[in-house]
Every structure is written in structure tokens, then in C-alpha cells.
């Protein structure tokens, strides 16, 4: 199966090309087929590869396929090469499978839109770039996927380009991620200069052998790569673009800004885990950023009134969890949470999409309510998603993956109590805001106008059911550590990602580790019921009115002022510089010498006023000067 790897990314590229070149002559049905089919085919190929990988695992635990040498200058010869190891396999499966489902969903969801062809072309471009990103064997080739994903997210966020605000959101997304990409590029420069190669596996092996544990250069390289990851995965401090990215169509938000692209950072850090093992400080920074982000995003999600922005903040928070896992060297736990998160977050977004369509493009949850009876199917699906998100014990996949992270945050050799505490508080916040959404949207009496559409076509619902099944069942492949059950996922990933050391803890630790997060998530649900469920009890009302709380809610709503900070600190000076510099000061300075020349010319010309006697006077003066010079020298 080695030599079929190139087919996986090639099919969506083919779809993109066909749609771009021949798209305008196709009907809606053919566009839908050509748009969705490649993702499905790629999924099929991926599954086939997975099967052959599991049945007859290759000796090196990875499939490698070199297409051609990109170019060769002296010793530097980067290659267009694919590398499939368990990590890439999981990523590929998720991208293709979830991508296919979302494309199926959007064939009907986007039916009314006039940019139908453009939508599917961009989605195919995105899937192709994401696949290149996860399958690339060479850092430069990875960059092709990395920026391709950035480009397609820019195109899709700004899909409804007539609206200037969407364009601004798209630009903001691409520019902020580009800041991260620059850090990544500088990291690659450092790696190449020090290790002489940009082949990922080669570089990692060379790093292992040449760099000492905790070496400054390893830390620098790791931090730079982390910079790129933070930009793409919208972690602190580069997270301001994701909430605005909700300006794009909902399937886009589901696929790109929930399931796949935003986790590219997690993949990158997992892929280069050798660097992070070499420098504990870098790993600690990742953990701290993860913890801080999950708390920050959790609180912000609580205050959002737009259903999609709430989910966006929730995504940032969940990726915070993955960064936390990476920070404590629980590599496979992070990937596992990525897997489950992809399913239930996509489900939440798709159902939110249906809710918005039902409420005639209304995003504000304060104008919704009591939709339980109007759109029961969507309600149940949303409920499953929300449950998985808040990791209700045993019933949902979220429980297994998130609690594994919280568990390892404490018990891992590199873990810490503070990190664990952040995880637990985060769990509380997560269940609080997810069920706040459920109660405000589906329970209580109807606040806004009546729902417009209540029945949805099968092609829209079936993919969501599949996702729902995934977000329930998937958890069981990895039982919590202390259950001493099977851990299929970690074993499968062992060849690509090392298993973290576990600190020996007593029975008390075991109980604390497993029970507390479960209790906390259920408590969160009850608290949400108390605050938002029943018909406006006095407690909730009084809480809101107190001034301190109102300021807190306002700040949370605005994402803690990061946006305003960046605007004042960076955007405004840049605009001021550009505005005042429009007339190119340096050019005016340099070609300014023409001014005095002209003035001098004008002055001299006044001496030519036609009077003969002045000419003679000048000549006489000249003589006097010459004679004087002659005499003196």
C-alpha cells in the first residue's frame, strides 16, 4: 500500500482543479458530486491503508513514498515525500472521514447559495492542503500544506465577499496565522542551519543525536515551532481570529475551525515531540499556555450570546486541553482528544447550523428558546454533542479523552497539581457553558419569532447521526489509566509517540484522579440547570445585576480585551504609519535635492538681467580675483 499514498491528497486536488476549470459549465448536482466524492474516495483509500497498516504493519512502522526531489543545491535537497505513521494515519482518517460527512451535509445545506461551485472548490482545496500537511515527510513540503490551509480558510471565511465585515474577518484570520507561520519559518531556518536537513524524520534523528537535553538551541527551535502551532491553533496570545472566523458558512466552521485546521498546531507539536522532549522548558510553556487558554476561553464562552462564537471559544478551550496534554508529554492523549473532539464539535456546529437555519439566520441565543418541541431531532443531536463536550461520564467519548488528559496532567511524570486543578476547573466551565446553550436554546418558553423550517432533508441529518454515534462510541477504545483496562489507542500510537511515565500514586490518587472530573462535569450540568434551566429563578437574576458581575460579563464577551489591545497596540500605529507615509517620505527626501537646485538656478538667472555694465562688472571682479590668487600663491 506504500505507493498509493500520493492518491489521498491528489483526489481533492483533482476535484478542486476540475471545479475551477470546468466548474462554470456544471449543474448543481454534478458540482455536488465532484465536490464531495474526492473526500469520500480519499477516506476509502485512507481506510484501506489503515487496514493494511494494522494487518501487516511495515517494519519501520511507517509508509514512506518519495514523489520527486524538489530541487538540489549542493548538500541541500528537500524532497516532495509522503510519510504515513500512526499519527498521520489517525489525522488522515479524521480529516477525510469527517470532511466527507461535512461535505455531504453541505451539499444540501448550501443549496440556496449562488457561490455553490466556489464553495466546493475551496473545501476540496482545504482538504487537499490538510492532507498534505499531515502526510508531508519534509518540513518545506509541510509548509505547502500549512499555508494552503491558511489560504483556504481565508477564502472560506470571506466566502460571502459582498459583506466588507466578512472580508475583514478573513484578512484578520490569515494575517494572525501568518504571524505564527513566520515563527515556524524562522524555526525551520534554525533547524536547517544547525542540522543540515529539513527532512522531518532525519531532522528529528539528528536533533536527538546532536543536541543535548535542555540545550538552548533545542529550546529555541521548539519555541519557534510552538509559535507556528499557536498561530494556527488559535491559542493565547494569537487566538483573536477564531471567534471572528465564524463569519464563514457553518460547514466551514465545522470542518476548518473545529475539526481539523485548528488542530494542525497540535499535530505539529506531536510530530516534532523529540524537540519538546529535549527541552523541558518549552514543554512547560506549552502546558502553561494550554492551561491558561482553556480557562480564558471557558469563561469567554460562558458570556457569548452568538451560538457560533460560543462554540468557537469552546473549541479554543478544548484545544487548550490538547496543548495541556502535549505540555505534560501525554502525546497520544492529546491526539485521542483531537479524535473525539473532531466528532462532537463538528456535530455541535452542524446542529447549530440547522438551528440558525430554523430560526431564519438568527444567531442570538437570547432570541431563541423552547425549540425542544419544534426541532426534536436537532435537539437530541445537539444534546449528544453537548454531553460529549462536557464529558459526561461513561456515556460520552469526551469523558474518556478529556479525563485522560486531566488524569495525566496530575499523574504524568511532568504533570503538576496546578495543571490538574486548571483541568478540573476547565471541566466545570465546559459543562456549564455547553448546557447553558442547551437550556437557553431548547428549554424555557420561546422568546424570538417562531422557527421557519422544522424538517431537514435526510442527507443533512444522516451525517450528523454518524458523528453522534462516533462521539458516543469512540471513547471506549481507550479506558482510563486506573481502570487497567485496554488502551488500544495508546498502543497503536506507541510506535510514533512515546508513552509518558506515570508517577506511582496511592489508591487515594487513583480515586481522586478518576472520580473528581466526573463529579465536576455532572455538577456543572446541574449548575447550568439552576442558572439557566428553570424559568428565570431569582438567584440567576440577582447574580447578573450586581455591577461587578456585569463588568466581568462584558469583559468576557469581548474576549478579555485582547482584540482592543491588538487594535490599539499594533493595527492603529500601522494604519497611521501607512496613512502618513503615503507620499513616500524617503522618496521626497532624496528627490528633494531638486528643490535647492531649482532655487539656485532661479537665483542665478536673475543675474542675467541684460544690463551690459553688470556683465562687465562680473568680468572685472573675475579679473581681480584671478590676479589676487595669482599674487598670493
Amino acid at each position: 500500500m506504500q505507493h498509493v499514498l500520493w492518491l489521498i491528497p491528489f483526489l481533492p486536488v483533482l476535484g478542486f482543479a476540475v471545479l475551477v476549470v470546468f466548474g462554470h459549465r456544471m449543474g448543481r448536482r454534478t458540482i455536488a458530486v465532484i465536490g464531495a466524492a474526492p473526500a469520500g474516495a480519499a477516506a476509502a483509500v485512507a481506510i484501506a491503508t489503515a487496514v493494511s497498516f494494522l494487518v501487516a504493519p511495515p517494519a519501520t512502522h511507517a509508509y514512506d513514498q518519495v514523489m520527486w526531489t524538489w530541487f538540489r543545491i549542493g548538500a541541500f535537497a528537500p524532497r516532495i515525500a509522503f510519510h504515513l505513521d500512526p499519527l498521520s494515519l489517525v489525522m488522515t482518517l479524521v480529516v477525510t472521514f469527517v470532511g466527507f460527512l461535512i461535505l455531504l451535509y453541505s451539499t444540501r445545506f448550501m443549496r440556496g447559495d449562488e457561490g455553490y461551485r466556489r464553495f466546493f472548490a475551496y473545501m476540496d482545496l482545504f482538504i487537499a492542503s490538510m492532507l498534505i500537511l499531515v502526510l508531508a515527510g519534509d518540513f518545506l513540503f509541510l509548509l505547502v500544506g500549512w499555508e494552503g490551509v491558511g489560504l483556504s480558510s481565508f477564502l472560506l471565511i470571506g466566502f460571502w465577499y459582498r459583506e466588507r465585515a466578512n472580508g475583514a474577518a478573513a484578512r484578520k484570520a490569515f494575517i494572525v496565522t501568518r504571524v505564527g507561520d513566520t515563527a515556524l519559518l524562522v524555526g525551520l531556518l534554525l533547524i536547517f542551519t544547525k542540522l543540515g536537513t529539513l527532512d522531518i524524520q532525519g531532522a528529528m534523528a539528528a536533533a536527538q543525536s546532536q543536541w543535548a537535553q535542555g540545550a538552548a538551541v533545542a529550546t529555541a527551535a521548539a519555541l519557534l515551532l510552538m509559535g507556528g502551532a499557536i498561530g494556527k491553533s488559535a491559542q493565547l496570545p494569537l487566538q483573536t481570529w477564531l471567534p471572528d472566523a465564524m463569519a464563514g458558512p457553518t460547514p466551514v466552521s465545522a470542518l476548518i475551525h473545529a475539526a481539523t485546521m485548528v488542530t494542525a498546531g497540535v499535530y505539529l507539536i506531536a510530530r516534532t515531540h523529540v524537540l519538546f522532549e529535549l527541552s523541558p522548558t518549552a514543554r512547560l510553556v506549552v502546558a502553561v499556555i494550554g492551561a491558561a487558554t482553556l480557562l480564558y476561553a471557558g469563561v469567554s464562552a460562558l458570556a457569548q450570546n452568538d451560538i457560533k462564537r460560543a462554540l468557537a471559544y469552546s473549541t479554543i478551550s478544548q484545544i487548550g486541553y490538547m496543548f495541556l496534554a502535549l505540555g505534560v508529554a501525554a502525546w497520544s492523549a492529546a491526539v485521542f482528544h483531537f479524535l473525539t473532539h473532531a466528532f462532537f464539535k463538528a456535530l455541535l456546529f452542524l446542529s447549530a447550523g440547522l438551528v440558525i437555519k430554523a430560526m431564519d439566520e438568527e444567531h442570538d441565543i437570547r432570541k431563541m428558546g423552547g425549540l425542544r418541541r419544534d426541532i426534536p431531532v436537532v435537539f437530541r443531536l445537539f444534546l449528544i454533542g453537548a454531553a460529549a463536550l462536557s464529558a459526561l461520564p461513561l456515556v460520552t467519548a469526551g469523558f474518556f479523552s478529556k479525563d485522560l488528559i486531566v488524569d495525566l496532567a496530575l499523574t504524568s511524570v511532568h504533570g503538576g497539581v496546578w495543571l490538574w486543578l486548571a483541568g478540573v476547573v476547565g471541566a466545570l466551565l465546559t459543562s456549564l457553558y455547553s448546557f447553558r446553550l442547551v437550556f437557553l436554546v431548547f428549554f424555557g418558553e420561546r422568546r424570538g419569532s417562531a422557527p421557519v423550517a422544522t424538517r431537514f432533508p435526510r442527507l443533512v441529518v444522516w451525517p450528523m447521526v454518524a458523528l453522534a454515534a462516533g462521539s458516543v462510541v469512540l471513547g471506549w477504545i481507550e479506558l482510563p489509566v486506573h481502570w487497567h483496562g485496554w488502551s488500544l489507542f495508546t498502543d497503536f500510537m506507541a510506535s510514533a509517540l512515546p508513552v509518558p511515565g506515570i508517577r506511582a500514586g496511592g489508591l487515594l490518587d487513583a480515586i481522586a484522579v478518576t472520580l473528581i472530573p466526573a463529579i465536576v462535569s455532572v455538577a456543572g450540568v446541574y449548575l447550568a440547570w439552576v442558572l439557566f434551566g428553570r424559568r428565570r429563578p431569582a438567584v440567576a437574576g440577582s447574580l447578573v445585576t450586581r455591577p461587578g458581575f456585569r463588568w466581568l460579563a462584558g469583559a468576557a464577551l469581548a474576549g478579555w480585551g485582547f482584540d482592543r489591545l491588538y487594535h490599539v497596540a499594533l493595527v492603529r500605529p500601522f494604519l497611521w504609519l501607512a496613512h502618513h507615509g503615503q507620499r513616500d517620505w524617503i522618496d521626497r527626501l532624496v528627490s528633494g535635492i531638486a528643490g535647492p537646485a531649482a532655487a539656485l538656478g532661479g537665483l542665478l538667472r536673475r543675474t542675467q538681467d541684460g544690463r551690459l555694465r553688470y556683465y562687465l562688472a562680473a568680468a572685472a571682479l573675475g579679473i581681480v580675483v584671478f590676479v589676487a590668487v595669482g599674487l598670493l600663491r
Binding site: I73, G148, S591
Partner: protein
């Protein structure tokens, strides 16, 4: 002998085109196109003939002892009284530039197929005269002959801007002419100074490049002579403080003029740095290496910020050239194999991406009647194919990986990193700033609420317009995915250039790594 034909074909073609204009404008256009394509054919023939010779790993031999990587030289005395010879030669680098010249001229002829009505004959004569003098510059291996073509180029470009430009053309043309001429004359002082100093040192008074190379003039005289060359090439490149002429000239020239200016004229500056400045004065060049790299980085950032703030589409694209050429300056003074290959790749890719953007601006101006991007917007709805091409070209200018510009810029940054880390890091900031102006261009021109196009202009793109864009796209994709053909062509040339300037030699990135190569 075939090198002379590379000069003769465009000159003769120009005259025939001018004469043919008597009968019909179309005739002179076809003649012009034919001569450009013929020149290209000859250049490609030469390239194919010598392609197998290169690529072999050139072992490091002493300077110019091994067979000089030049070929089919012409060496005839021109002004014996002053020791000036008509010395034409070409190596991999010159050949790449020659092929680029003829392709861009052919595209320029296509670009002005409809645009130029008045005096079409004279227009094509100027176009081909410019092509001939450019070809001359890239083949001249006698310093005076190089200066002769360097100055000869000015007149056709000046007239192209003056006679067929837009409203502010006269002031812009004169500014362009004086900037370049002042730089050129300072270079003449250096050339003649070098001629005498080398003559006194070695007794042979000559302008021949091969003998003057690495003449080992160090100290302040070397630096002053080098500064003369630096002035001329920094104006041409353009490097930041001396770039004033570029935005005016580019925005006032017509489409073909801008394509030629952006595609070829500024490349002479880059070629001059590679071929003349550093090999002739290695010691002096290494003295100012970090200042020059600083200028390069300043160019990258300043050009990008200025591009963002423009309201005239052509001025905006012109400033992007300032930014991209900042990378070239950075790469040239990093002076190792990777950086030089990056510079050559950047030269070629920039010609196509910026040339394409100027053609786009020209097409837009025909249809919208204005260059002010305030009045544009919402074009995607009306001309989606043009939107597609425009998006591709903007992404190329942005340095999107998978396209030629990305490979070039990353090679330059890779090469620079091992020489000066801060320069590479600040240089890579250029990626962010170029994203800002590129997306700003897309936002104002393609997206946003729709403006309306001039009545009577064709809504769909004409086939020749599509052909031009397709040429640019194919080349950018080809150089993005498989640049090895270009790199192999210039491999021997860059190798010999590196050997000519040992004083400038910098560590090859990656070579410092021990042999733990997988």
C-alpha cells in the same frame, strides 16, 4: 557567433516593425511578436545545447582555470585606442536572463495588442530596441560595453513612458532618466578608475571583465570604486533610499511599459550586483555586507508598508517590487550557493508575478477606466476568471508555498540565516507585511460591494489576455514545484561567481552540521 544574432534579431525586428507599420498596425505587431519569439527560440536552443554540460557537481577548482563556463564568445576590438573590445559571452546566469528577456518582451507585445493605437510602429521599435539593449547588457563581458548597453536601455524606456504613458508621464520619465543616469555616470567613474588602477598594477590597460575580476583592490580606493557601482545598481534594483523613480515610472507607463520595467529593467540591477559588483570588489563588498543587508531588509519592510498605503493600483504593485527586490539585495550579500540560487529564482519569479499583476492592472484599467482602487471592488462577481487569475498572482506575490516566489524567498532566508541571523529574522517579517498588502489588494479589488465597469468594454477576457495569464501561472507553478531545471542551469554559473569572490565567502548553511546525514 549566435550571441550576435541575439542582438541583431531584436534590432532588425524593431526596424522592420517600424517600416511594416506603414501598411498596417497588425503587421507590425506580428513582426514584433515574431522577432521576440525568434530571439527566445535561439536562446532556448543555446540553453538546450549546453544543458547536459551543467549539473555535473562542479568540483571546486581555482578561479577560471577550469574551462570557463561561458560559451560561444565573440571577442572583437571596438575602440582599440582605449583598449575597449566587443566581448560578448554568456554563462548559465546570462542565459537565464536572456530567455527571461525575450519571454517578457513577447508578453509585453501581447499586452499592448489592443492598447496601443497611435504610432504602433514606433512603439514596437522602442520595445524591441529595449529588448536588444537588455540582451546586450546580459551578454557584455567588457565593462565599457556593459556601460554602453546599460545607458542605451534608457532611451527606449524613456520614450515608452513619455509617448504612451498616462497623465503624469513626463515628470515620471524625466525623474526615472535622471536617477538612472546619475547612478550610471558614477559607475562610469568607477569603471575608468578601475581601468587605470588595474593598469598601473598589472601593466595591461583593459576593460575586459575576466581580467579585471578579483583585481584585489582593497582599502578605501576599492570601497570608493565599489560605491560607484553600488550607486548605479542600487538605483536600478531599486534599493530603498534610491527607489523614488520606480513608483512614478511604473504607474505612469502603459501596460507593456510597466511589464518591461518590472520584469526586466530592475533585474539589470540585480544582475549587476551578481556579475560585477561583488566579483570585481570582493573585499570592499564584504566590508559593507551588513549595511547592504540592512538596506535589503529595510527595502522589504518599507516597500510593503508603502504598497499597503497606496490608492493607485499600479503604484501599489510597483512598491511590491521594491519589497521583493529587498529580498534580492539580502540574498546577494549573503553570497553563498543557496542564497544566490534563491536570488536568481526570485528574479525570474518576480518578473512573472509582478508582470502578471501589471497586466491585470492594465486589463482592469481598460475595463474600469481608472487605476484608483477606491473605485474598484466586487470585481469577482463580474469577471470571475480575471478574479481567479488575480487571486493566483496575488498569492504568488504573497509567497504562498507551492509557487516559485516561496521557494526563492525561503532559499534567500536560508542562505541569509547562516550569515546574519537578525537580518534573516527581520527579513522573514516581510512575509507578514506582504500578506497585509496582498490581502488588502484582494479585498479592495475583488471583494466588497461591486463597482460598475466602463460601458462598451468586453465583459469576458479576450483569448490573448487569458494566454498571458496562463503563461505566468504555468511558469510560477513549474518553478514552484520543480525549480531544478532553472537551478541546474545556473549551478555552474553561481559556483564560478562564488569562487571569484573568496573574500565574500560565507558558511554554506547546513554544511556546519556534522555528517549525521540520514
Amino acid at each position: 557567433m549566435s550571441l550576435v544574432f541575439l542582438l541583431a534579431i531584436p534590432f532588425a525586428g524593431g526596424i522592420v516593425a517600424w517600416v511594416a507599420a506603414r501598411w498596417s498596425a497588425a503587421a507590425c505587431r506580428w513582426v514584433a511578436l515574431a522577432s521576440a519569439v525568434a530571439g527566445l527560440g535561439l536562446a532556448v536552443g543555446l540553453w538546450a545545447q549546453h544543458y547536459h554540460m551543467w549539473g555535473a557537481a562542479v568540483p571546486s577548482r581555482s578561479i577560471y582555470v577550469e574551462p570557463v563556463p561561458f560559451f560561444s564568445e565573440l571577442d572583437v576590438p571596438w575602440i582599440p585606442q582605449a583598449g575597449i573590445r566587443l566581448h560578448l559571452a554568456a554563462d548559465g546566469l546570462s542565459l537565464v536572463m536572456l530567455m527571461l528577456t525575450f519571454v517578457i518582451v513577447a508578453v509585453a507585445v501581447l499586452a499592448s495588442w489592443r492598447g496601443v493605437r497611435r504610432r504602433a510602429g514606433l512603439f514596437h521599435f522602442m520595445l524591441l530596441w529595449a529588448a536588444a539593449s537588455l540582451a546586450g547588457v546580459f551578454m557584455a563581458f567588457d565593462l565599457f560595453l556593459f556601460y554602453f548597453f546599460f545607458e542605451l536601455m534608457l532611451i527606449p524606456f524613456f520614450l515608452l513612458v513619455v509617448l504612451w504613458g498616462h497623465e503624469g508621464r513626463r515628470r515620471a520619465a524625466i525623474k526615472f532618466f535622471i536617477y538612472t543616469q546619475a547612478g550610471g555616470l558614477l559607475m562610469l567613474i568607477s569603471i575608468v578608475g578601475l581601468y587605470f588602477i588595474h593598469g598601473r598594477q598589472t601593466g595591461t590597460y583593459t576593460f575586459d571583465y575576466l581580467q579585471l575580476v578579483n583585481s584585489g583592490i582593497s582599502g578605501w580606493t576599492g570601497r570608493l570604486l565599489m560605491l560607484g557601482f553600488f550607486a548605479a545598481f542600487a538605483v536600478k534594483l531599486p534599493a530603498v533610499p534610491l527607489h523614488g523613480w520606480l513608483p512614478d515610472a511604473h504607474s505612469q507607463a502603459n501596460t507593456a511599459g510597466s511589464v518591461l520595467l518590472a520584469g526586466l529593467l530592475i533585474k539589470v540591477g540585480a544582475y549587476g550586483f551578481l556579475r560585477f559588483l561583488i566579483p570585481l570588489f570582493p573585499q570592499a563588498a564584504s566590508d559593507i555586507r551588513y549595511i547592504a543587508m540592512g538596506l535589503g531588509v529595510a527595502g522589504i519592510l518599507y516597500g510593503a508598508v508603502m504598497a499597503f498605503s497606496q490608492t493607485d493600483l499600479k503604484r501599489m504593485v510597483a512598491y511590491t517590487s521594491v519589497s521583493h527586490m529587498g529580498f534580492v539585495l539580502l540574498g546577494v550579500f549573503a553570497w553563498n550557493q543557496i542564497a544566490l540560487q534563491g536570488v536568481i529564482l526570485q528574479i525570474v519569479c518576480h518578473a512573472f508575478s509582478t508582470g502578471g499583476l501589471f497586466i491585470l492592472a492594465g486589463v482592469l484599467e481598460e475595463r474600469l477606466g481608472t487605476r484608483d482602487i477606491g473605485g474598484m471592488g466586487g470585481l469577482w462577481a463580474r469577471l470571475s476568471t480575471l478574479g481567479g487569475f488575480g487571486m493566483f498572482l496575488v498569492m504568488a506575490a504573497l509567497g504562498l508555498p507551492g509557487l516559485g516566489n516561496f521557494v526563492a524567498e525561503s532559499l534567500i532566508l536560508l542562505g541569509t540565516f547562516s550569515v546574519s541571523r537578525p537580518a534573516a529574522i527581520v527579513g522573514s517579517l516581510g512575509l507578514i507585511v506582504s500578506t497585509i498588502y496582498a490581502l488588502w489588494l484582494v479585498q479592495r479589488v475583488f471583494h466588497g460591494p461591486g463597482g460598475e465597469s466602463k460601458p462598451g468594454t468586453p465583459a469576458r477576457l479576450a483569448p490573448r489576455e487569458i494566454l498571458m495569464f496562463v503563461v505566468a501561472i504555468v511558469v510560477l507553478l513549474w518553478l514552484g514545484l520543480y525549480p531544478q531545471t532553472l537551478i541546474r542551469t545556473t549551478d555552474a554559473a553561481t559556483g564560478s561567481l562564488l569562487r571569484t569572490a573568496p573574500a565574500m565567502q560565507s558558511p554554506e548553511p547546513g554544511s556546519s552540521a556534522t555528517e549525521a546525514q540520514p
